[in-house]
Symmetry: none
DNA sequence: TCGACTTATCGGATAATCCGATGAATATCA
DNA sequence: TGATATTCATCGGATTATCCGATAAGTCGA
């Protein structure tokens, strides 16, 4: 007859609650089964662990002496078991991430590829969607976390800054702006401007109006997707404005980009997750990898 | 299905020996039972702990990671179990006993010496104190148990009779009372009486008054300690009365003692412990040794 | 004095564990 | 190359351990 973990857990539960009945409830067994466990443990050890009366129990001297020791041992063991569970979940987890279409086709494939090289059994599911729906998908639990530009504060959603980057002008090689190191917003008026529809551009207009007290974005054309805008720029139909996390796509279209100044207007991007909810080990791990990638790539401008 | 200690011990045995068959032998079970234990553990954890081939096994990465942690946990647990076994086997332990000063310098040193001869690893700590404070020290848990004369009944304190002995007269060799086999209380009035102060003597007076309906103790001198009274008797200043558990001290002073009769008045001594509380193995063992000593020595009058 | 509460014990039902035999895979040797 | 030895996994039946619900005994409070 050996000491069992069940007996030890029963001992700790009784010692903590001071009651066989309460301890049995906490372990989801009947009081009589718990009585048996403690009896077996006392018999195995050959000592009395509790002094019983019909109304209260007390740890014996020996019981009092070993309680902290057994408590620590069980805590250590549960720590190991938690660690194993984490490793298991990380090894075989699924991570669902929502991101706007532009991030989904630029930044994220690279991050996912790097992560998958190290964790081949973790399944990263990327859900590309409209900017406006990222946070609602996070909130509903459809995804583990989302990426996107600044949204209205929401107590249900935790927003952690991922990066902050300035707007850039995008144009074809040989364009009049190519010789410039930087491009002023005012210089854009000489060229047909192609912008994206929606809140993103509306907020940019507000920022420029505030900073310049005159002038405004006056797009010749508005389109839905950045890939459309870049195609039109490549066809010589105008210039567009873009944030450099999408530099890989700009390069794919063989276009040039320059920082926009006077004023320098930036946009901040965040990782959104549900407030008060922990991520699975795999999701947490991928999130960390994402932050690591951004920390290393910084301005997104310097490599192939 | 919970993790069990048997599974964990099996894991360590296999990891150490690198073989299911050898590990099974070391645990005194068949190889097939051991196979089942490891299988259950792997299923409970949801991870592979060993990579098997038909001729050799290897710890998996996870198995290698948790091996030292589980090894330490089992070592800690075995340390606690050894500790308990040592306490049980009286290979260690501390016993704290409270007794009045007179018992502390007569009866108890002999009992302790005899007990220590048999259990050299048990530490007996004797706390000599006033008669009145013995039970309060027991109640507070400062000591494991206490000795002393009858106290008022108290539901928190358990009192077990240790011995009951008659009062004796004590006088120097050559004294007028030496030729007597017994001494009557009435014979004491012819000699200056030296008594102890306090409740002990007050209760004796009540007992004598009840038994004799006349007369009373009329001490010429009262002192605090029996050793003082015995010194004065040895100096020829009178006689004193004493209970024969202190015979060793009487003999040290080279005094004689005789039973007091007409009436025979006795005093009962008890072992006091906390009601509803168990004693540690060492305290219980020493308590039993004490009762054994008293049973053997009976009247405390017959030996060097 | 009765009702409420607590721990211990009992008998029967159920679950877990073990053994010995066997199978599948691999390595070694003549 | 075939025979033999070795190892871990699986199986079915026997045995052991565990649990539940009912009940008993003791204590406390209204």
């Amino acid at each position: 007859m050996n000491i069992t973990l069940r007996q030890l857990r029963a001992f700790i539960a009784v010692a903590r609650s001071g009651s066989f009945t309460l301890a049995a409830e906490s372990l989801f067994i009947t009081q009589s089964a718990l009585s048996g466990l403690i009896k077996e443990l006392e018999q195995s050890l050959g000592v009395r662990l509790f002094d019983r009366s019909t109304r209260r129990i007390q740890l014996s001297d020996i019981g009092r002496g070993i309680y902290p020791l057994i408590d620590k041992i069980l805590a250590d063991l549960d720590g190991v078991l938690d660690e194993v569970a984490n490793l298991k979940a990380l090894k075989k987890g699924v991570v669902r991430v929502a991101a706007p279409q532009l991030m989904a086709c630029t930044l994220l494939p690279e991050v996912i590829a790097a992560y998958r090289a190290e964790h081949p059994q973790v399944d990263i599911r990327l859900i590309d969607c409209a900017v406006e729906s990222v946070t609602s998908r996070v909130f509903s639990g459809e995804v583990d976390f989302g990426l996107g530009p600044e949204r209205d504060p929401n107590s249900d959603i935790d927003a952690t800054p991922l990066f902050e980057l300035p707007f850039h002008a995008v144009f074809p090689p040989g364009h009049a702006l190519t010789a410039r190191e930087t491009v002023r917003w005012a210089d854009l008026v000489d060229h047909p401007l192609i912008t994206l529809q929606g809140q993103f551009t509306e907020r940019l207009s507000v920022d420029l109006h505030t900073a310049m007290r005159e002038g405004d974005l006056d797009p010749a054309t508005t389109v839905t997707f950045m890939s459309t805008a870049l195609s039109m720029v490549a066809a010589g139909l105008g210039v567009t404005i873009c944030i450099p996390y999408a530099a890989s796509l700009v390069r794919l279209y063989r276009l040039d980009m320059r920082p926009l100044v006077e004023p320098v207007v930036t946009r901040r991007f965040y990782v959104f997750s549900r407030n008060g909810r922990s991520l699975s080990p795999a999701a947490q791990s991928f999130r960390e990898a994402l932050f690591g990638y951004v920390a290393r790539e910084g301005a997104f401008t310097g490599h192939p």
